[in-house]
Symmetry: C2
Subunit: 503 residues, 2 copies
């Protein structure tokens, strides 16, 4: 076979794996958007059967053959970047999977599934000791997996970070988070001394079907293509890509808190715009998806906060919102509305946090994860250290573990190393905005006139189109001319919140 | 391996195939309930990949091994009916698939897909000649397939009938349809001389969300379990079973014709009740589904017509319907309503036909299919013979092929032999009702009081629970004590329509 024939056979092989993954994604979407509860257990078995097939194929001898042939130094010159990066991704997955003994992986999956359901009970009862033994075992498994995969620069935690944010290490995050903390904490303290504006009007009755209509309107305004997607209701909103022509968003409607659905929709819409605008050249390759969790989050947060919580945006859309609502904003000025949707106040629950205090929640988790994998922190110490860090970073202490260490599913789900991406997303978003302003100096003016197109196009040009062809650090460097720099986020927060709170 | 071990391995193997089929069913449901159009083409490829997997596994050497081992005469005594019938179904599928050369089957699938899209254009333009060459090839393929599968009792068409209604042959249908025609045609002629009642109030505006609420209410009344199903909107309503705990129905809302959604929902609900009430013993076997198209249709038609279009049913529910509607029935008596929803009049389009004239539409198609496969009818003659038969059976002649021979997708889809099941469903339904009346003599009284439970339980006891454990003729014999007998349907029609039209 010529190398072109191998290349073709490899992409054909990978395409089949992607077909199975699409069926898995559809099942996941369905299970979270209204699949009847009596069918869920059997549906999970379907996901298991399909996942086995994906695992088998992505670690097969045939796959190894393609990897060996296409990573051979002698053929590199005749391969496109597209092929080289694709095979690199296939190789990463191959190595990750093939290096874990299957029985061990299976036992881990069973443990993790069990841990997630124990977590629900532990959270319900606010009883960390129920979860503790499971979490201990999960950490042990992860440490063993890291041994199989190899440490990165002497850090076990780096190996986990690499799963979600390739190329970003503890060194980088330590630097970024320290700088960010020093920028945010004083601001949070200053705001704490100020009175918050009235927000009661936010929680009046806003009928669900009207929220839905407004959500659809917002998505269309953002440039979301409903011929390549749909909006559904769920408990915990998410975006999911089934294929390049089917990028779905979900949201959660609360009739006494419209913010949940509206900002949730804009957030997931930001993820979806990324996926909908990947270059068509990458269709049929493993590169046809966002390049990392952090870059993905930068797109959702950019839209949620830098667009959706800006004054200029609501100059264009506040009157529309009023029309969809049942009169709750009739005597509320745009200025009052803007201040109310931007109230900042330390709180216990990460997912309810405002944009300013949110990164501090992530730092608490980051310090703990680092301690577990690279330091001498033990699982049993998590609740205590959690509370200490909350006190240190946010100035408040949870009264129980339910509003503390037990609030997130990530750890029982085995997702250690995932949290930092959320905060990195904030940092990237502000950094991108800074660069964007050079190209679009009338950013606010555009938003004020309801024009999002130039903004979305800039993001497509610099970020979206590349899918996973470029790695996160490459995207950042190429787009902003520098490496990760939290200054822009700090400046954004200071400018915005000093104005909001008259500091 | 002991025979018990073989049995276990066989069911394990079959379960995986069912998992793939469930993923295919989910994709099908999704594509018909709102999947974004730009994702459809790629989604079809997913279905192709999954179908290949099902085909490969159900015709594998491993499957053949199970079939050989479990059909061995020496082990029959130690096997349950459940196992014997399961392996019989697997064997049928195996033989059907393994006997067609794969390239030939692939070429046929491509042709059929093409024919379906050509059909859309031909129908749009009312131009049969566009479709003719495709239909000719499809009939040729089907005849070749029949050669591979073998004729039944000297009839090619019997082989096709057997795909949809196992055990029912041309002899039986000829007898049943002749008798039925002799019972229906005179009645249709008598009605044609009478005036139809006013029906204008049926077509007033009935908001979609209210129709949806009433549809849900009806399904609950019927005993449909929403913990094991859901209701969605679609173009052409269908019921689809993903797994025994996930049996979905769909309906089509027309705001100026509420009948579409309400009777559509009740019809699909009838299918769903069948699937939701199959014995739990059959879960995990290929028997956990309705036994034939005809028996399935008997369940949907029983609910749509013998329940949903009865006077007693609306005695219980007409006031409720009024509440959901926007006043369109305010000055309409129950009697007027009942007569309006039961108007009978010969028409061109099968899917819009009333219950009395519907079987005649099927007979037209049956005669043509029989002529194509067992007689000397050619594809090019279909439009002419269609019109002749319409004149003979319904007394009307289509003015173009769009409202004639081109109206259905079944033939371009290759589904020859399918149509008769629809009419058999009517016959079975009336026959079942006759038997049911012996056990539930106060049938009308129950309906009048809004009680459907005893009726549904009777159907579960005699039909639903068996899934595919019993074959259609077994179900009919065991339930009614006789073979297929159209007398009961003829009597039902005569009693109902003579009263309605004062004959």
């Amino acid at each position: 076979m010529s190398i072109q024939q191998v290349e073709k056979a490899y992409f054909y092989y990978v395409k089949k794996i992607m077909d199975f993954n699409e069926a898995i994604a559809l099942a996941a979407w369905d299970m979270r958007t209204g699949a009847p509860k009596n069918g869920i257990e059997q549906r999970s078995e379907v996901v298991g059967t399909l996942s086995d097939e994906v695992f088998k194929r992505s670690t097969s001898e045939e796959m190894k053959g393609y990897i060996d042939a296409l990573t051979d130094p002698s053929v590199q010159d005749s391969l496109s970047e597209r092929t080289k990066r694709s095979i690199e991704k296939s190789q990463e997955e191959y190595s990750r999977n093939v290096n874990i003994p299957p029985e061990e992986y299976k036992a881990y999956i069973i443990l993790q599934t069990k841990a997630e359901s124990v977590w629900e009970e532990a959270k319900e009862k606010s009883n960390f000791s129920l979860l503790q033994p499971y979490l201990e075992k999960i950490v042990d498994y992860k440490k063993r997996f890291i041994r199989y995969w190899g440490e990165k620069d002497g850090s076990k935690y780096n190996t986990l970070l690499d799963l979600y944010e390739p190329g970003i290490s503890v060194d980088v995050i330590d630097r970024v988070f320290k700088q960010l903390r020093e920028g945010i904490v004083p601001l949070v303290k200053q705001i704490a001394e100020k009175n918050n504006p009235d927000t009661t009007f936010l929680n009046k009755h806003f009928p669900k079907d009207k929220q839905r209509e407004f959500s659809i309107h917002m998505l269309k305004k953002m440039g979301y293509d409903f011929n390549s997607g749909r909006l559904d209701e769920t408990m915990h909103p998410f975006e999911i890509t089934l294929n390049p022509g089917d990028v779905r968003v979900t949201t959660h409607y609360l009739e006494d808190d419209f913010k949940s659905a509206i900002f949730g929709t804009i957030h997931e819409g930001g993820h979806a715009l990324y996926e909908q605008h990947i270059s068509k050249d990458l269709i049929g390759t493993p590169l046809c998806t966002g390049t990392s969790m952090g870059i993905h989050e930068s797109q959702s947060l950019f839209f949620e906060n830098m667009v959706g919580r800006s004054y200029a945006f609501w100059e264009a859309h506040y009157d529309e919102l009023k029309k969809y609502s049942s009169g709750q904003f009739d005597h509320v000025s745009l200025d009052e509305f803007y201040r109310a949707i931007n109230v900042s106040k330390p709180s216990f629950i990460r997912i309810d946090a405002d944009e300013l205090t949110y990164p501090l929640h992530i730092m608490v988790r980051y310090e703990l994860e680092k301690g577990l994998f690279d330091g001498d922190l033990h699982v049993k110490d998590l609740p205590g250290v959690w509370n200490e860090k909350m006190k240190e970073y946010l100035g408040i202490v949870p009264t129980n573990d339910r509003e503390g260490v037990l609030q997130d599913i990530h750890w029982p789900g085995g997702d250690f190393g995932y949290f930092p991406s959320y905060a990195l997303g904030y940092v990237y978003a502000a950094q991108f905005k800074h660069s964007m302003l050079k190209a679009i100096p009338d950013f606010d003016h555009q938003l004020k006139n309801g024009h999002i197109d130039a903004i979305r196009s800039w993001l497509t040009e610099h970020i979206h189109q590349y899918g996973s062809l470029k790695k996160p650090l490459e995207i950042i460097l190429d787009t902003t001319g520098e490496t990760i720099n939290p200054d822009y986020l700090i400046t954004y927060f200071n400018e915005k919140y000093k104005e909001l709170y008259g500091l």
